[in-house]
Symmetry: C2
Subunit: 313 residues, 2 copies
Amino acid sequence: MSDICVLVLDDDPPPDLDRLRGRAQVISTGEEELAELLPSADVVLVWDFTSPAVRRAWPGPGPRPGWVHTPSAGVDHVLSPEFAASDTVLTNARGVFDRPIAEYVAGLVLAMAKDLPGTWERQRQRRWQHRETLRLAGTRAVVVGAGPIGRAIAETLGCLDVRTELVGRTAREGVRGQAELPALLVEADWVVCAAPLTEETRGMFGSDAFAAMPDRARFINVGRGPLVDTTALVAALEQQEIAAAALDVFENEPLAPEDPLWQVPGLFVSPHMSGDIVGWRGALSDQFLELFDLWEAGRPLFNVVDKQLGYVR
Amino acid sequence: MSDICVLVLDDDPPPDLDRLRGRAQVISTGEEELAELLPSADVVLVWDFTSPAVRRAWPGPGPRPGWVHTPSAGVDHVLSPEFAASDTVLTNARGVFDRPIAEYVAGLVLAMAKDLPGTWERQRQRRWQHRETLRLAGTRAVVVGAGPIGRAIAETLGCLDVRTELVGRTAREGVRGQAELPALLVEADWVVCAAPLTEETRGMFGSDAFAAMPDRARFINVGRGPLVDTTALVAALEQQEIAAAALDVFENEPLAPEDPLWQVPGLFVSPHMSGDIVGWRGALSDQFLELFDLWEAGRPLFNVVDKQLGYVR
């Protein structure tokens, strides 16, 4: 029996982990026992990546896991200041969600440009009402978040001839720095948020940002809920400071049935599914197993998160 | 006063025609007086391009207009056998609708791939239900109709990494011939009809075509209603021979409120608007005025329809 202890945070771990048999001891756990098991684990797979349990249960001084993997693009739910200060390596699922999320965003953009929701609403009413819709080519988009997801979104919108600016924390080749964002918002037809959630980005889309956008602007969030000040967004929609919005992520997920966000006019609500294509769980466990091979061989891992920045550099 | 008599079929002609003042006598007419006025007109602008009045009122032997322009891509509503046999030049709006229709089709394809209608339905019910959706990249599309609209659709889907085959009447560079269609349908995830309506294409999507498609296939018609045998399409949807369909065009438009098509499960109905972006009427009258300049100068027109084929060659 191998000495590597792999702790899987989920009562129902992926069947593909059978491939570790003879190479590691795999223990699946719920949130309750996590704090107790964490210090003795070598590797932690946060398979239930909606859970903040690792962040909460992160051990104090003493033994800690050598490597934590979260099969998600964002790491905010895992990374406590103590974890960030530790030697533990953190990896994420960079690469798996890029294209699916870019397709999802392009779908939302085109659906809004062509008013497909308005057409389906009229179909329900058996009402034939011709309208003129927006030509997408030549419109302007600002994509905030210059990681692989943001870049894939910018590429996909670019191929639809949307004039797209990519905004990251710092300016570099093909990327505008965050300081330029207010000026870019003024001209935007589409504003897409695909930024990581860090202390710097929390609430970055608030009343100032929405006030800067033209009233024809449409806002899409596929990053993390707390990037957006939801109260300010709802006010901006109600006061027609912007034309429409689509949220795939929320401060509290799942959204409760009584949440008023379900019924804000001009707001589309989807259940955190933008990147989740058929087969995504298989792709995620394949990626973890690929990383495990490297870990076992003592070789450098890919997708290593810069824990100070909160994302893969 | 000029001797050129321009007859406009519409009680409400575009204001841009004021630019012809002093160059032509512009007479707008409804369907009733058309037969009487047609023989004395030099130019006919079929501004109400949903009207079959020109086809019906086409004069017998004797004087006829020299040029008829329809500001639509399809010419089936205008072209009678007698018109086709005459010397009258027929032009269409080739070029104006290509990109808008391609964007509309891409929007429908992405909305179906990502099940946006299902998400909006759940939003109405305040129901958070995560689902896995389709990765569009790598799927296969067959676009029937190799004119500028079909080509724009194929280009747009191609840039989204959909493996797209374009099918025309005859095989040529980049275009498969119609004889290959049945074999192509077998592998199609998406089948898009953007063909002109001719005696050859009428009803081309019937029970055989739907039976050939895999059950995951989704069918979109942005051509003309009679290209599709609607009874066969409804049966294919009901028997789940195909997964879904979207129709933007119908045998009888507008669709009556009592038409059963409004409520066929898996069928999206839109009111013939795929190409109609904000500003389209201006683009159409600009195009007519550009043609008029050539006509007045005795120079060759563009967008001349091959009246035997029923489209611009």
